[in-house]
């Protein structure tokens, strides 16, 4: 009996249906084009995966607490721009510049969080405005031109965008960042006291507050975390391609939210899953690579991404409904 019960609760879990969909997707792409599973393509996917994946981890925690952040794509663009400008000015060391960039992210996240919690404006409106401010700032200070990034080898470059080979696969250190941060996020959300608070706040904020949970403080810190992760991801990306573009990360906010939701985290808060988000990140990454490989024309690309995301969400909802009924 308990075995059956456990099995049905596993099937009912949102991560499970996401995993099934991911497997189907991978199978379809692998059959459609043999190159999909080639070392080159897998290496390529693993290079891109962490950059959005890292942001998605923060977004999962934030969504679970009942808020979301539309400014992550803009922060992804601005943070490395600031770092590069500081380095190019010749006044500061690269380490200091990176720190300054992350501190800026802390400030952006704190402003988002403070306005949402203390003034009580919805995070949709606050972070949408922040998106415009941050993206506008990046464009203005660069006058719209991409900056040449730091391309001299060194400790920080290796730390953020170093690469290594395992057999015929080429991986970036960012993959380690993603794995380490994922493990940390799984621990915090599912096993730590803080995770209990995050889920409770998103599920029923008043109940959490009535039990003495500092809901506002938790939310503000989650906004800061998400912003910092977005900035970190932006720096990783800029080092990898050796350029900091003021328009980098455009549209990432929606793609990240799609990853999180496709993975099974509730858009309405209360229910979050890091494992699901990892599956969701893998899913969107394989869609992006897969449809290029099977030869979808470049300009039609987003149509396919959108349709496939919608299809996945519908499938997801149906699987969930079925599982709940049985």
């Amino acid at each position: 009996m308990p075995d059956v019960k456990r099995r049905s609760s596993l099937i009912r879990s949102p991560q499970f249906s996401s995993l099934v969909i991911l497997m189907v997707l991978l199978a379809v792409f692998a059959i459609a084009d043999a190159n999909f599973l080639s070392p080159l393509n897998i290496s390529n996917m693993m290079a891109f995966l962490p950059e959005l994946g890292i942001i998605a981890l923060g977004m999962t925690l934030l969504l679970t607490a009942g808020e979301f952040d539309l400014s992550v794509g803009a922060v992804f663009g601005l943070a490395p721009v600031i770092v590069m400008l500081l380095v190019q000015s010749g006044q500061v060391d690269i380490g200091v510049a990176l720190l300054a960039g992350l501190l800026l992210c802390v400030a952006i996240g704190a402003i988002n969080g403070l306005i949402v919690t203390k003034i009580g404006i919805s995070s949709f409106l606050v972070t949408l405005s922040m998106l415009l401010v941050v993206r506008g700032a990046a464009l203005y200070i660069t006058q719209g031109f991409p900056l040449k990034s730091w391309d001299q080898p060194g400790f920080f470059v290796t730390l953020l965008a170093g690469s290594f080979n395992i057999g015929t696969f080429r991986f970036y250190t960012s993959l380690w960042w993603f794995i380490a941060l994922s493990l940390l996020a799984i621990y915090v959300l599912h096993y730590a006291k803080l995770g209990n608070w995050i889920s409770a706040i998103g599920s029923n904020r008043n109940a959490a507050v009535a039990r003495g949970v500092p809901a506002d403080a938790v939310k503000i810190w989650l906004f800061i975390l998400t912003s910092v992760l977005a900035g970190l991801a932006g720096m990783i990306s800029a080092f990898r391609i050796s350029a900091a573009s003021p328009v980098a990360g455009t549209g990432y906010e929606l793609e990240v939210i799609a990853m999180v939701v496709v993975g099974g985290t509730a858009l309405t808060g209360g229910r979050g899953t890091i494992l699901g988000t990892i599956v969701g990140a893998l899913m969107l990454r394989s869609i992006r690579n897969g449809i290029v490989l099977i030869g979808v024309p470049g300009l039609a690309y987003n149509i396919f991404v959108g349709v496939i995301i919608l299809a996945m969400l519908i499938l997801h909802a149906l699987l969930q409904k079925n599982a709940a009924r049985s």
């Binding site: 621990y187 915090v188 096993y191 730590a192 006291k193 803080l194 209990n196 608070w197 889920s199 409770a200 998103g202 599920s203 029923n204 008043n206 109940a207 959490a208 507050v209 009535a210 039990r211 003495g212 949970v213 509730a266 209360g270 229910r271």
Partner: protein, 258 residues
């Protein structure tokens, strides 16, 4: 023995005097019903006791000690637990996690909010509690609260208050939106709570429920306590007329004479 005493509590919101003056005493192992129409000041009084906002004037005594309640946390630490109809539980969390929300048992306490939950202790304590309150047959400590009925949720919330050895349990409209059978379940539970030695302040619109479980009745009108009677000394019609204010003078005289 006196558990909670309020003395001349006053609270205004702008020019509205929500609480003009409220004084009463709650004794150990007693169920006191707080009655009154909408806007009578019941919820203002409850919020003041449970620490949602401070009062403008007046004193609160817990077991004879004068206390100051500035937050919900203060109230909880003093042993005053408030259970609201809809705001007590997080539906997406398990019963066990709800029971310990805000007071989670953890290992490695020095890690602060990052400390790992003591999951075994959490589940064991929750199961033991569910057994003690007699709902273990139906409920699994790992079940999500969203899968429970309204009556079960009320029972869980009340058990949680009992578990932390609350001296005073405030129930805010516990039978709202419940079916007949569930309502009886909750009322039975209130009696068990009293039998276990807790004091209960019951806020409700339903006078019938009051006569089933309460020892004493306090009636509020327009921010004031207008009557205080033991259930044995009164009847349904009398209480109803006090609430609505019909034929007040005679009744007040009777109350004051006591």
């Amino acid at each position: 023995m006196e558990v909670l005493r309020l003395q001349n509590l006053q609270k205004s919101f702008g020019s509205v005097r929500a609480l003009k003056s409220a004084s009463f005493t709650l004794n150990e192992g007693e169920v006191v019903a707080l009655l009154g129409d909408n806007g009578a000041g019941k919820s203002t009084l409850i919020k003041a006791i449970s620490g949602v906002f401070p009062v403008d004037r007046g004193d609160i005594y817990v077991r004879g000690q004068k206390v100051s309640i500035r937050s919900t946390r203060d109230a909880m630490d003093l042993g005053i637990e408030t259970i609201h109809q809809d705001t007590s539980l997080a539906p997406d969390l398990s019963i066990a996690r709800n029971l310990f929300l805000g007071r989670e048992p953890v290992n490695l306490k020095w890690l602060g909010v990052f400390a790992p939950l003591d999951l075994a202790k959490l589940r064991d304590a929750a199961s033991a509690l569910l057994k003690r309150v007699g709902i273990s047959k139906k409920l699994d400590a790992d079940a999500l609260v969203s899968t429970l009925s309204g009556g079960e949720r009320q029972s869980i919330a009340i058990s949680r208050a009992m578990q932390f050895a609350a001296k005073v349990i405030i129930l805010d409209e516990p039978t709202n939106n419940l079916g007949v059978e569930e309502t009886h379940g909750v009322l039975r539970f209130v009696k068990e709570v009293r039998a276990a030695g807790h004091s209960v302040l019951l806020i409700t619109h339903n006078i019938h429920h009051v006569f089933q479980v309460a020892d004493r009745i306090i009636v509020m009108r327009r921010g004031e306590i207008v009557a205080e009677q033991t259930v044995a000394d009164t009847d349904l019609l009398t209480v109803e007329s006090i609430i609505t204010g019909a034929d007040m003078s005679a009744l007040l005289k009777e109350t004051r004479a006591k």
